[in-house]
Structures are given as structure tokens and as C-alpha cells.
């Protein structure tokens, strides 16, 4: 369990995380979303005790992480930036890390096999590809069988096989009762893996809900109608919340009315309908909608910086 309360982090005048509060519960995979610079990595660094909050608190499994007795049993972390010595082999890296908690070479070999690094375990990490580095980072995070796992962009640099592997791994960790917080830029991946979402923008909380609730609340579903009489039908689809758009002369995209209402209106007016379908919004659309203002702000700010 990760409990974040009124968390704020300032770097000089810049506010990276602004009064953020949310709870990540065990037994589920929680996705952590937000545009670049939204404060995701900073929040994860504060969870891991690397950055001290300016104010507010972070508790991992009910405790202040920096004072935990057996840290590796509490929390495993993969951060965005690499965290190994390039001159050391993967196996020796894991050994050195594990030895702080009395973890021996058997468990080290186990995680090496688990992440698929057997062939290169004896090679120096400096020559690793991005994907191999990610796998080593994941091995380090899981080495101590931690109760809580925090992974920043774990699928970064992984091939489709690796992406699928991560998806299965995260679900299994959650099924075992662990707390899993994972950030990603790949919305389709998040939609398949996470059951809960924490969305941040400009360091503030935008949403904290299940994936379905988030999508439903943020974006309305729309209806697509294809009709040779589209122009006449459009004239009949009136109402305070109804928005109709079109990109082809025989197709209408409608929000504010459901498929039943539209079908009934067309039938009453005796207009032929060739296609009538409901379009469920994707997580990606919902995310774009929810974070638009913070992204716009970021763009404006970067333009400001250019001037």
C-alpha cells in the first residue's frame, strides 16, 4: 500500500508536485498517467525516499520508507533513469544489491532467469541495450520479493514479446496481493494492464478511479450514422447537448443522443439508415481530454521559455 498525503515538491521556484493525495491499494495494478513534466517521476522518487518532500507525507505499507528495517522486503523500484554501474556485470550488480538484505546467489540467478538475462548476466552492463537495461532494472526491483512495486515506464525499449511479458508479470504481482504502481505513455498498454488509474497534470491530481469510471466520466460515447440522406437527418437531430459533425457527405458523428433515439428519429422521418454504431471512447481519448489543459499550459510555458 502506498499512501500519499498532501505531497508537495518544489525545486527552487518550480513546483513539480503540488498538494497531491492518493492511495495505491494492494491486489491491483494502478496506472500512473500524466503528460511529461506532470510530476510522475518526482512522485516515484519521493516514494522511494530518494527525494525528500517539501511538505506532505508518503507512507509505504503504512510506514515511512526511509526508516524501514528491511527495505527490500517493503519496496522494489524501477526508476526512469538507469541505476547501475556500467563497469559491473548484471549478476554482480544484483548480488551487491541483494547482499544488503542477505539475499544470496540462488535468488539472484532466479531473477536473472525470470527477466531473461541468462545469456548476458556475466557481461558488463555498460554494453546493454535499452531493453536489457529495463530487464535488469525490473530484476533489481523484484529481487527482494517486495510487498510494493513501483515501476516507471517499464515497457520502455522492450519488444512486443517483452511488453506482453510485463503485462503478465504485473497482473501476477497484483494477484499475489502486492501493491503495483506503474507509469506508462502507452495508453493501449495501460488499458490492458491497469484496473485503477491515477492521473496527474502539472503536479496535481486530475483523476483517481477505475479505468472504466475514468473513461466514462471524461468522454461521452458517440454514435456513427451512415445514411444517403445524412443532410436531412442532420436537420432533425436537434437538442441542447447534441453535437453533430461530419467528415463524409453520408456519415454523421453524433454525441448527446444515443443510438435508440437516433434510430427512432430516422424511422419516424422515413430516412434510410445503412449503418448505426456506438463508438466507445478509448482510454487514450479520455486521457487526452483530461490532460489537455495541463499540456496546453506546458506548451505555453515552453514557448515562454523560448522567448
Amino acid at each position: 500500500m502506498i499512501e500519499i498525503e498532501n505531497l508537495t515538491k518544489r525545486y527552487g521556484a518550480k513546483v513539480a508536485v503540488d498538494d497531491l493525495s492518493f492511495v495505491v491499494r494492494p491486489g491491483t495494478v494502478t496506472g500512473f498517467l500524466g503528460p511529461n513534466g506532470a510530476g510522475k517521476s518526482t512522485t516515484m522518487r519521493m516514494i522511494a525516499g530518494l527525494d525528500e518532500p517539501t511538505s506532505g507525507t508518503v507512507r509505504v505499507n503504512g510506514k515511512h520508507y526511509r526508516s524501514s528495517r528491511a527495505p527490500m522486503a517493503e519496496l522494489g523500484v524501477l526508476l526512469e533513469a538507469k541505476a547501475f554501474h556500467t563497469g559491473r556485470s548484471a549478476r554482480n550488480h544484483l548480488l551487491a544489491i541483494g547482499q544488503t538484505a542477505g539475499i544470496g546467489s540462488r535468488r539472484v540467478d532466479e531473477v536473472i532467469e525470470m527477466v531473461g538475462l541468462c545469456d548476458v548476466a556475466g557481461k558488463r552492463v555498460g554494453g546493454f541495450s535499452l531493453g536489457m537495461g529495463q530487464r535488469l532494472g525490473i530484476a533489481s526491483a523484484l529481487l527482494g520479493r517486495p510487498q510494493t512495486v513501483v515501476l516507471d515506464e517499464p515497457v520502455n525499449g522492450l519488444d512486443p514479446d517483452g511488453v506482453r511479458w510485463i503485462r503478465l508479470l504485473l497482473r501476477q504481482l497484483a494477484d499475489e496481493g502486492r501493491t503495483v504502481l506503474v507509469s506508462s505513455h502507452l495508453m493501449s498498454e495501460m488499458a490492458q494492464t491497469a484496473t485503477r488509474l491515477v492521473v496527474v497534470g502539472r503536479g496535481r491530481l486530475i483523476a483517481d478511479s477505475t479505468v472504466e469510471q475514468f473513461v466514462a466520466r471524461t468522454t461521452a460515447s458517440s454514435v456513427v450514422v451512415r445514411s444517403p440522406e445524412a443532410a436531412r437527418l442532420r436537420g432533425l437531430l436537434q437538442g441542447p447537448d447534441v453535437v453533430v459533425s461530419t467528415d463524409r457527405s453520408d456519415v454523421l458523428h453524433i454525441t448527446g443522443l444515443d443510438a435508440e433515439q437516433i434510430g427512432t428519429i430516422a424511422w419516424q422521418a422515413n430516412l434510410p439508415i445503412l449503418e448505426l454504431s456506438v463508438v466507445q471512447p478509448s482510454l487514450e481519448e479520455a486521457y487526452m481530454q483530461a490532460t489537455r489543459t495541463s499540456v496546453e499550459y506546458a506548451d505555453a510555458a515552453s514557448l515562454e521559455a523560448v522567448r
Binding site: P71, I103, R145, G162
Partner: protein, 271 residues
Amino acid sequence: MTTASVAIAPVVSSGAGPVTARRLIHSEWTKFRTLRSSWWTIATSTVLTVGIGVAIAAASAAEKTSSAMPVDVATRGEIGSIFAQLALGTLAVLLVSGEYGTGMIRSSMTVVPKRLPVLWAKLTVYLAVVFPVTLATSLATFALGQVVWRAHGRPPTSLGADGVAQIVIGAPLYLTVAGVCAIAIATLLRSTAGAISAMVGVFFVLPTVWGAMPASIAEAGRFLPSNAGAALPRLATTAHPLPPWIGFAVLCGYAIALLGLAAWRLRRADV
């Protein structure tokens, strides 16, 4: 690649135990021995100490007018350790700055979030390796110097002779504690280039520059870390060095003060 097995034991059976001093020292020893730079710097320092010491012994033995006083003979044997200090200082700096430069520090500080024990474990491993190695090197250099000296028909001296042991043991003590300063400086500055520059500046440039000052200021040069510590093996470059053990105590004082600052920064600053 193996993607099938994602087996992990249930939450209740965690393999990770508490962090203890023993475990941390074990971990730091693994970190130390698994980097090539550790062994290269130690080998360099040993070769420099022995090579320069024996070469100087040979040169002075061949020169019939050179002093045969036991302390002078012993001191000449230790001149190489001044050069060895560059290699050992680099080793000490890299133990810490190598972690900051590569990002390893994020792993180290995440698995030991109390942070300070990592610094103490590093220091322990450094002391446990560097003091025995430099002491053995110093003894070997002295013994080889005696062989050369005797071969030229000059009167031999021994470790038991007045002031000799202080020099032969003093040089490795000086090197070891100077390295402790380097570890502290690297923890404060976090960068390899910065910390090595600072070490060279303080231990090599500063005493030279100070020596060129007017006598009234130059006198205070004996309190510089280099001159204070080097008073023990009689390698100080100042006209009136501190008494040997007092000088060494002053160097230890610098080391402890720097470690205090380093510990404060390590604990307080974001990694």
C-alpha cells in the same frame, strides 16, 4: 528470451531481511571487487611505490656522499608513496563518484534508504583493503631498498633503528587517511572530475603554492592536510613541519570533519 516463467513466491515469504552492518560490508566488498578500476588503481599505486622507492635507493646508494642515516634511508624509500597517493586518491574518489556518475547511487540509496550506513560500509571496505596493501607495499619497498643498499656496500639499517618504523608505517597511514578525505570529498562533490581536482588541488598544488609565500604565511603551511599528514613519514614539504604524530592527528581531524560534512549532505540532500 525467457518470457514464460514469472514465478514469484507469495507475499508472506519474502527473501529480503533487515539491513545489517555485516550485510552492508559484504555488499560493499562485492561492489569493490567487481570493478576493474579498483584493482588497476591498487596495482598502479603498488608499482609506483616500489618502483620509485627502489630506483631512488639505487641512485642514492651509488652516490657515496648520500646520507646513510637510517631515517634518511627510510624516507627515500617512501617518496614513491607521494605518487601512489594519486592512484589511491582516484580509487577512493571512484568508490563514491563512480556511483553518482553511473546512476548506481539510486540503487544503493533505494535499498538502504537510511543512506549513512552505506558510507560507513564503503569506508570500512576501503580501510580494510588499502591499509594492509599499502603497509605491505611499504615494508616490501623498505626491504628491497635494503637489498640494493647492501649490494652497493653501504651500511644496512633495520626497522628497529631509531625513527625508521615511524616512517615505514607512517607512509601507509598517511596514504590511507588521505584516501578517507577523498571519499568524503567525493561524497560532497558527487563528481569524479570535481573530486579528483579537489584532491590534487589540496594535496599537491596548495602545498607548493603555499611554500612560495612570504615566510610569515608559509609557516602556517604546516597545517595543510598534506604537510600535516606527511610529517609522520617525514615527507612534508614545509620548512618546519608539525611533530610527526601531532601532524597525523591534524590530518585525521580534517578527515573526520570532511566525513561529517559528507554524512550531513548524504543524509539531507536529494539523491
